[in-house]
């Protein structure tokens, strides 16, 4: 018994090393079928990212990104969850990036700081006003990450120009509104908050399902994540959202539209 588990341990270690070295996918030997670890989903060893080209994302979200992170010069549209947006900005900001938060007058910066965004490298422009194209253009030139809210003053043409400017400058646009040329669209939904009873407890963790669409993403594969005191984690796989057929998940009405319907 002891020898078997020892063997499995060795196989796992070998598999992990191979994954890290990039050999894993090419091999078809017995090591490939190494038994996965006992924990539900051990976080895969984060592959070394080239931070010159790719900004890091929370490890639990990395499977959604074709390059394991946000490529510089591209845009990611995040809808349905501000906390997801803040976590993405924080992961990039934690790697030394400067971050500008534009046209988001309501964003909770205390929550952003809690998520790990270093506020001393953040500048906030809550209301860019009618000069938005020039304002955002200047910020694209100077900042690595732009978190962009709803800029009504930006016409489609401005958006395309800004996207190409970001591409040349190598900055990343995280937007909450549809953006032409976004490489990736992350749509969050099915939010469940845990920790609160009827008049007891306190909010502790949030679970959301994130679906990624876009270039380089093979199929809209939902990922259930848990955002809590431990950061962003992959939620336990026994949640039915992970096991059911994925096709019907795509037809879920995006959360934000529902919320608009509610308050409007």
């Amino acid at each position: 018994m002891a020898t078997t588990s020892k063997l499995e341990d060795a196989r796992r270690a070998l598999a992990a090393a191979e994954t890290a070295a990039g050999l894993r996918t090419q091999l078809h030997g017995p090591t490939v079928r190494a038994v996965p670890g006992p924990s539900p989903t051990p976080p895969p060893p984060a592959p070394a990212l080239d931070t010159e080209r790719v900004l890091p994302v929370p490890p639990a979200l990395a499977p959604l990104f074709p390059y394991g992170g946000i490529r510089r010069g591209t845009g990611v549209q995040v809808t349905g969850s501000t906390s997801l947006l803040l976590r993405l900005a924080a992961a990039a900001g934690g790697a030394g990036a400067w971050c500008a938060v534009v046209a988001l007058p309501d964003v909770g910066l205390a929550a952003a700081a809690e998520a790990g965004l270093p506020l001393d490298r953040v500048v906030v422009v809550p209301r860019p006003g009618p000069d938005s194209p020039s304002v955002v253009g200047a910020l694209v030139d100077g900042f690595d990450v732009l978190v962009l809210g709803d800029c009504t003053a930006l016409a489609d043409r401005d958006r395309r120009l800004l996207a190409s400017r970001a591409r040349t400058r190598g900055s990343v646009l995280l937007t909450t509104t549809p953006w032409p040329g976004s490489e990736l669209v992350l749509d969050a939904g099915d939010r469940v908050w845990r920790g609160v009873g009827r008049g007891a407890g306190v909010l502790r963790t949030e679970e959301i399902t994130v679906v990624a669409y876009g270039r380089g993403v093979a199929a809209a594969r939902p990922v259930r994540i848990r955002i809590g005191p431990g950061g962003v984690e992959t939620a336990a796989p026994e949640v039915p959202a992970m096991e059911g057929p994925t096709a019907e998940r795509e037809f879920v009405v995006p959360v934000a539209e529902r919320s608009l319907a509610q308050v409007g």
Binding site: T79, G80, S81, T82, S83, L85, L86, W98, A100, D106, V107, G108, L109, A110, A111, A112, A113, E114, L119, D120, V123, V124, V125, P126, R127, P128, G129, D131, V135, A138, D141, G142, F143, D144, D150, T152, S171, T175, T176, T177, P178, R191, W193, G195, V196, R198, G199, A200, V202, L203, I227, P229, V255, A256, E257, R258, S259, L260, Q262, V263
Partner: protein
């Protein structure tokens, strides 16, 4: 000087050391340059007077966006000080005349004065508008004594511009600058003794650019925290101890505190000067055409300095006019200048010349322009990465922010500061970019009763009213003992009145503007009310902050609906959305 005095044995350690020696036991072999510094008190005010914007009798201040930058003597008598807020200054002195600070005006008006000084003494170095330094040894030999030099300089300035100036003469720049503030002549070799009892904060007077001021301010802060509160304390340290602790800047500061020049004199000519020049064809009559050429020259000079990894101590601007007149002006510079700062200096200088206000040439167009970086020394500053930029950092961010501030005003660009506080709204304060980033309330204090983590990701900028009702449709209130009267069953968030959602923005992103939690569409409740069904809640958490100012106790409540969670705050019988956990 050192030879005449009794030298102590070369002992290590502390104890007083006589002036003229360093504690390492070595006599001061090098002596500093004998300098005369001419200082016009409150020059920005005097410049405004010279340009006719205000009269000399007015109680006037200059201010930029942040506060008062210069105060006239009359206003100072009323208690107005530099660095005050504009409103405070006006409160102290109701008939105060306010003028915007303008560096270009300061330089422009200073030019006639410098020309006046040049008639007495050649080789004038402008440190900043209002302060010039000249070598004192030659003129004092020519005029008979150093007092005579001081008198001649003050007279020349009074004649040229009508401003009152003070002159100080001493060894080394710092001592001369401080001597000018009290109109004294420090005898040769006595600079160290003159400086010893002074506060280390006086080091700031040496700075001429914003970066160096910031660097010296940090250093002085550090020195004071370590208990080195006078220049004498700093001078008494061993040089070998200063370098590892305070770096290159610390050594510079120590040399200044000992009454020496900031850099050790070099016997050989260190590096050839870097010059750039341009012929102006057609001759530049207007300031903008000349400034355009100056900009190109300044950028070229800057890039060549960067390529060679050097900084310069002096910038010489020289121009030739149409009628053959030659104009040369030297600026003293400490530290590295950016291309923009360089351009500004040159442009101001040209403005001074071309405005013709000095009554001297050129009032003729310029044909030739030359910039030279003199007294070149290796730069100790951080350079760009070997393969271009490594990461875009502070410099680029600063530049972008400056541009944005130019577009939408300084108040439109903010930086967040973490504060102590209980509600998520209190825990961050937004200040204008570039302002003081120190928190007003200690964020590390315990703050009992603060809203527990996680904090809501959306905090509406203006409170959004909400209705909270129980299953019977009665509003849920908070009782006298801080408990809820009734179980909340429905919450109804009203749309913010001041910000109606535009029809074009109906998209997923509007979630941020619409502070309702995600969830199924509002439905009719059991009593025909609309709202979202509450599945759970936590709290209430009563918080009675600032009771001494008569505020009502406030109650916080976390509410979970089918699709999201809200942080509600209640006061009296009213509720509003304090945060949305989305």
């Amino acid at each position: 000087m050192g030879a005449a005095e009794q030298l102590p044995p070369p002992v290590a350690g502390d104890g007083a050391w006589p002036a003229g020696t360093v504690p390492d036991g070595a006599p001061l072999a090098e002596s500093a340059t004998r300098l005369a510094v001419l200082w016009v008190p409150d020059w920005p005010i005097a410049a405004a007077v010279a340009e006719g914007l205000i009269g000399a009798h007015h109680r006037a201040v200059l201010h930029d966006g942040r506060g008062v930058t210069a105060v006239s003597a009359m206003a100072r008598a009323q208690g107005v000080r530099r660095g005050m807020r504009r409103r405070t200054a006006q409160g102290l002195c109701p008939d105060l005349v306010l003028l915007a600070a303008d560096e270009a005006r300061d330089v422009r008006a200073f030019e006639p004065l410098v020309q006046g000084v040049e008639e007495v003494v050649p080789h004038v170095q402008v440190m900043r508008p209002g302060v010039v330094a000249v070598g004192a040894r030659g003129p004092s030999r020519y005029l008979g004594s150093e007092e005579a030099v001081a008198e001649a300089l003050v007279g020349a300035v009074a004649q040229a511009s009508g401003a009152e100036a003070q002159v100080g003469i001493a060894d080394g720049l710092l001592a001369a600058l401080l001597a000018a503030r009290t109109s004294t002549v420090v005898p040769p070799g006595r600079s160290a003794r003159f400086l010893a009892p002074r506060d280390v904060r006086d080091l700031i007077y040496i700075t001429t650019t914003r970066q160096s001021r910031a660097a010296y301010t940090d250093l002085v802060d550090l020195l004071r925290r370590l208990g080195l509160s006078t220049l004498g304390d700093l001078a008494a340290m061993r040089t070998a101890h200063v370098l590892p602790r305070f770096g290159e800047l610390g050594v510079q500061a120590q040399r200044l505190a000992r009454g020496l020049d900031a850099y050790p004199p070099q016997m050989h000519r260190p590096e050839p000067d870097i010059t750039t020049h341009a012929e102006l064809d057609p001759p530049a009559q207007r300031i903008d055409t000349a400034a355009f050429a100056a900009r190109r020259l300044a950028e070229e000079l800057q890039s060549r300095m960067v390529r060679r990894g050097v900084v310069c101590a002096r910038l010489r601007v020289s121009a030739r006019a149409d009628n053959g007149a030659e104009l040369v002006r030297t600026w003293r510079i400490d530290g590295a200048l950016t291309a923009t700062e360089l351009t500004d200096r040159v442009r101001w200088q040209l403005e001074g010349w071309l405005s013709g206000r000095s009554g001297r040439p050129p009032s003729a167009p310029l044909t030739h322009l030359e910039l030279a970086a003199e007294e070149i020394s290796p730069a100790a500053a951080v350079q760009d990465g070997l393969w271009g930029r490594v990461g875009r950092g502070q410099v680029q961010a600063d530049r972008a922010v400056l541009r944005v501030q130019g577009l939408i005003g300084a108040e439109g660009v903010l930086s967040p500061v973490l504060e102590g506080g209980r509600s998520p709204r209190d825990r961050v304060r937004l200040v204008a970019w570039g302002d003081e980033l120190r928190p007003l309330r200690d964020p590390d204090a315990p703050w009992p009763g603060q809203i527990p983590r996680p904090l809501p990701a959306t905090v509406p900028a203006e409170p959004v009213p909400a209705r909270l009702v129980d299953a019977q449709g009665d509003p849920v209130r908070v009782g006298r003992r801080g408990e809820l009267e009734g179980d909340p069953a429905l919450v109804d968030v009203r749309r913010r009145p001041s910000r109606p959602a535009e029809p074009g923005t109906r998209g997923a992103g509007s979630a941020h503007q619409a502070p309702g939690p995600a969830g199924p569409a509002r439905r009719a409740g059991p009593t025909g009310l609309t709202g979202q069904t509450i599945t759970g809640w936590a709290g209430p958490w009563p918080v009675h902050e600032r009771w001494w100012s008569g505020t009502e106790p406030r109650t916080y409540l976390q509410v979970v609906t089918e699709g999201g969670a809200l942080l509600l705050a209640g006061e009296g019988g009213r509720w509003w959305v304090e945060g949305v956990y989305d």
